[in-house]
Amino acid sequence: DQQVKQNSPSLSVQEGRISILNCDYTNSMFDYFLWYKKYPAEGPTFLISISSIKDKNEDGRFTVFLNKSAKHLSLHIVPSQPGDSAVYFCAASHTILTGGGNKLTFGTGTQLKVEL
């Protein structure tokens, strides 16, 4: 039972344009959502997060949007750069239930390719 889904295995975008990566979840108890970026042969690196009390969080070129009623979140990268080419994982947790344990449930990832 995949509680966090990334339905697009890959995405190709031109340099300078917007990249939009999507993620859907089924567990309404999730209250904290994160995006990680992963280069080959490296571990995932934390990118940006959002709490369920917000609907938007912005950090430089990266913005995460959360639509709780649709159980959907998205990551916008503007403008996209070749160095953004990586696999992006969304993840979710229910912080209160885990008492700060921060157990995460990950999606299957989207490979982003930013072309020149």
């Binding site: 990680y36 490296e42 571990g43 995932p44 997060s49 700060g100 344990g101 921060n102 995460l104």
Partner: protein, 115 residues
Amino acid sequence: DVKVTQSSRYLVKRTGEKVFLECVQDMDHENMFWYRQDPGLGLRLIYFSYDVKMKEKGDIPEGYSVSREKKERFSLILESASTNQTSMYLCASSFRDSILNQPQHFGDGTRLSIL
């Protein structure tokens, strides 16, 4: 910067061997985690630990065990390695905070091949 160090980048073992994967973090994090990453399946949680000597099963604990004797070190043990345990193994750590959400920080992974 948070540093999570996994002892080996690449490891090749034989079926039936007992395999140890080691992970050390230098940020005094309470929580530590072991995942495996497989194509098309994302990251799946094997085991995690909230404190020294404490452990909890994740989503796919079968065939694995863990040890946390010191706060900074979390070991994953494959009791009798099988070919379906060939995978990329990732260790992560985070602060334990029930009020403020804390992201997990990952090591660079160990690519384990079981022959």
